[in-house]
Subunit: 564 residues, 2 copies
């Protein structure tokens, strides 16, 4: 148990791990996985090969060797209308837990370097097949292909690597052994040798979501795995394939490295099976990572008391517009945020606050109506051409979200109606252009709780102070992952920072170029703060990894090295 050999995979990936460790400390730019799907980066045939590999999966039983699967399920419903028809083994959850526990001892006894090496190899293996994954994310989430590639592939992998780096750093903060010598009096020094064992918590459960099956799951998956815990991956029934591919790669790497592949398993289910509740309450489940609804997230936090529970739920993301030196840049930047993936990112802005008397710009004062019109016009322009629009807005993840868009039109003055968009490649795709509504600050019933999907509220307030007060109130209660502010006044920016601090929400100031409030960069930007109702943890920080294992020490007397 003590004299463990570090696996050669650690040396293979050490440079990458070191770069990630440097990046999480400096918070400077870093990426280990190129985000451009260009053939110049990935090779001439990569895209076609990935598409072919994806298509070869359709209509078949997904091949994955797991503990007894008494039955199979076919549950996906592509937002693009792609006929997936893939059948997944629905293993008995209790057998998955038993298999995880049986697989655990060797992984638990491995040193953190070995585990990091194996995790990096899993990321590497996923990356080598990233176009297959990108097609899977595209088909199951409704993200346009380039976004599915980037967010579902390299960006998700970077988030996974970031979690590995945090987990490795946390485990190695305490040395494996220490020599302790306390100066003594007449009796001479007291000396001890101490061994510090990293003791993982136990079986982890990762509950995936429909919109970002990989990006939102990889941090928890790799944080638990690198800290020595087996992981059961429970995908959303409508987005199984991206995580099925992930689990298959993970199992292959684990087996190749000499570990039991049952350290990572897939828990596919029919939606009505309610596997997540059952597994989450099992006494062997010690860690849960969840992305999804407030109701189930809060249920988990309240009920799964035997586990460390990390949740990302919903909130109300806001932008406060006070003034700008670049109205066009502001409108375009906001419009891109609202359109990207039809506002179905947990970080997309839902409410934009505009002062009743308008805003100062270099071109003179813009009235509140001008500001609203500027945003509406930019969104309309981005979405006016169907063929171009779908490459930005993608498709609507579920029929329920389409229904919500239809219902939302009554919540305010329709400034830009949502229309049905024809997808040139996918005739059966569910595509709606964004709905923009105008409301007054008093109509908080409309805008002050999450309305997931392509629905934005432009909220008129008395002034910027009032806007910030509403943000403080609404986000203080409902939580948020992101906040934006536009102002040319230092005092306003300072007040926005103060508000962001009070509601524990990350703030983007005056975004007018190629960075958007709803995007965060691994290693540099935290996703969520863990300090408001939208999430009880941040991706990724020390607190996200430090309680996935414990340190147990053993100590014994040794001869003092210091002569008396």
């Amino acid at each position: 148990m003590m004299n463990r050999m570090t696996h050669p995979l650690f040396s293979k990936h050490r440079e990458t791990l070191d770069a990630a460790l440097t990046a999480i400390a400096s918070r400077e730019y870093y990426s280990a996985y190129p985000e451009s799907p260009s053939p110049r980066v990935y090779g001439e045939t990569a895209a076609d090969d990935g598409k072919a590999a994806f298509e070869a999966l359709l209509g078949k039983t997904f091949e994955i060797d797991q503990p007894t699967a008494p039955r199979h399920v076919t549950t996906e419903d592509s937002p693009f209308g792609i006929d997936l028809g893939i059948t997944y083994p629905a293993s008995d959850p209790t057998e998955l837990i038993n298999a995880a526990e049986a697989a655990w001892p060797a992984w638990r006894a491995a040193d953190p370097a070995t585990r990091a090496g194996v995790c990096l190899e899993i990321l590497h293996r996923i990356h080598s097949d990233v176009f297959t994954l990108a097609n899977a994310v595209h088909a199951t989430t409704g993200q346009a292909f380039v976004m599915a590639f980037q967010a579902g592939g390299p960006h998700a992998l970077d988030r996974g690597l970031e979690a590995v780096a945090y987990g490795y750093a946390e485990q190695t903060r305490v040395p494996a052994t220490a020599y302790w010598e306390k100066p003594g009096g007449k009796a001479g020094p007291l000396a001890m040798e101490k061994t510090y064992h990293v003791v993982p918590r136990g079986v982890g459960l990762v509950i995936g979501c429909n919109t970002f099956p990989t990006w939102n799951s990889y941090p928890g998956l790799f944080a638990s795995l690198v800290t020595g815990n087996p992981v059961i991956v429970k995908p959303h029934p409508r987005a199984v394939l991206p995580l099925a591919l992930t689990v298959r790669h993970a199992r292959a790497v684990l087996a190749d490295a000499g570990f039991d592949p049952n350290l990572v398993t897939l828990a596919a289910e029919n939606p009505e099976d309610g596997i997540a509740e059952i597994v989450a309450m099992h006494p062997s489940i010690k860690i849960i990572d969840f992305t999804g609804s407030n109701s189930f997230g809060e249920w988990l936090e309240f009920n799964a008391r035997q586990a460390q529970v990390y949740t990302e739920k919903a909130g109300v993301n806001t932008i406060v517009i006070d003034s700008t030196d670049n109205p066009k840049g502001m409108f375009n930047n906001i419009a891109f945020t609202l359109c990207l993936y039809s506002g179905q990112m947990c970080t997309t802005t839902q409410a934009i606050f505009i002062p009743r008397d308008g805003i100062e710009t270099p071109d003179g004062r813009l009235s509140a109506d001008d500001v609203k019109a500027g945003i509406v016009k930019s969104v309309a322009k981005l979405t006016s051409d169907d063929a171009r629009a779908v490459e930005l807005i993608g498709a609507i993840v579920s029929p329920e979200v389409v229904q919500r868009v239809d219902d939302a039109a009554s919540l305010g003055e329709v400034l830009l109606p949502s229309r049905t968009v024809e997808h040139p490649a996918y005739p059966k795709a569910r595509v709606r252009s964004p709905l923009i509504l105008g409301v007054d600050a008093g109509s908080s019933d409309a805008y002050a709780s999450e309305c997931f999907g392509p629905v934005t509220f432009l909220v008129t307030t008395d002034d910027t102070d009032a806007s910030l007060a509403v943000v403080r109130d609404v986000v203080g209660r409902e939580g948020a992952l992101t906040m934006g502010v536009y102002s040319t006044q230092d005092g306003v920016l300072d007040a926005a920072v103060a508000t962001a601090i009070d509601v524990n929400t990350h703030l983007s100031q005056n975004l007018t170029a190629g960075v958007f409030v709803n995007q965060s960069a691994a290693y540099s930007d935290f996703h969520g703060s863990g300090g408001n109702a939208a999430a009880n943890a941040a991706l990724t920080d020390g607190a996200y990894v430090a309680n996935r294992f414990r340190i147990v020490q053993s100590r014994k007397h040794v001869e003092p090295r210091t002569a008396e």
Copy 2:
């Protein structure tokens, strides 16, 4: 808010902080506060001055300037029968919370270095008055004076400094600002400046215990304070003075450093007031540190959902005896552990497992009865002389514990009866010598739940495997803070380590010299693992500090430094 000056107290104490930071990383020996109360260390008059300062407090109202105290309470009952009669202001808890929130902004906005400097100055100020504190701990806990000095003074201060070091390290893992530049294509690089704000959680509540009012409270107090949170200190009604002195020093230092002293307040109460429940459930309380009973600890964990809750409760500490190369050293070491402060340490061994067929020693085989007799004889020897005994066993913290000792005699074969000991200096002292009972492994009703106080069970098992199996079962269920093993066999030691890992309990092997299973050294030994039922957190590790604050970032575009 951004351009904060670091307080000069940081420079004053930087060397000490750096030494502590080095020590928590190396886990080598370190102490900032000399543990010897010798006049050669503390000066000829220090002991007398401290005693006089303590005596000057007796029978009076404790002078501490706090938010409105409508009434006063006098609740202490010295185990030594010292007539304390000190009256404390019983402030309205809601006013303390309001005052803490009013005091918070400047402390929250201070940089981590400033907060660390102020915390170290508080520790320094307490240390400069450590003999007064030692008398207070002695009088209220029943610890013999030297132990009260060491555990209540320097060792507690070291635990406080350790928490400051961990909290400072955690806050400074993320830089205050970062420049982020993402290589671009034709559009050139994207550059951002990012600011990372440490955002403390909110008002902390520290709930002290009767036996170790300072040692068990300082980690939570200083972990919360250094990470920017105000702290309300709720002492045990029978051990108010040590924390009242602590709070008074803290308030003086805070005021001297230009902060609102209401960042640290004392919440004294009558036992029937139930202030802890009321304060703990207040929505403004965001962090709770508790040492005490399982029932209230579990109540807090379950009910105070708005707060981060760190608990140290009770468990069953064990020693497994398999064989030894030094029977005398083993007996003496164990006897010292059982006698020290009458077994009223949360780390004291309660159950010692002895194989039915006895153990191997260099002097030949000792029967199980010989082993029991060896322990009993050593304990009897340490406690046979009343005047010497009281300097080791101290006094019994409460009448309930005396009653428990009396009741426990029926739980097994009395191998060493508890007797009433006369304290030469304190005629009214509650002093009992340790009770040692013999039971069979089957009598788990007797030994398998915590029996706080000077009661030890010597448990006969079939063999060492059976002993370890019982430990695994009992500690797996009840938790523990410490475990010991004596064996000359590597295989047995390895099995003990494996058991300790499985039950997340720190293990001491073959202690026969000047280190005892119930003692842990700050910076090197973790107190508790946070991985079993005895405690949900370890003192002190990354997880203990990382969630007492959050990081909120703000970011904005800047001109790229890299030419296109």
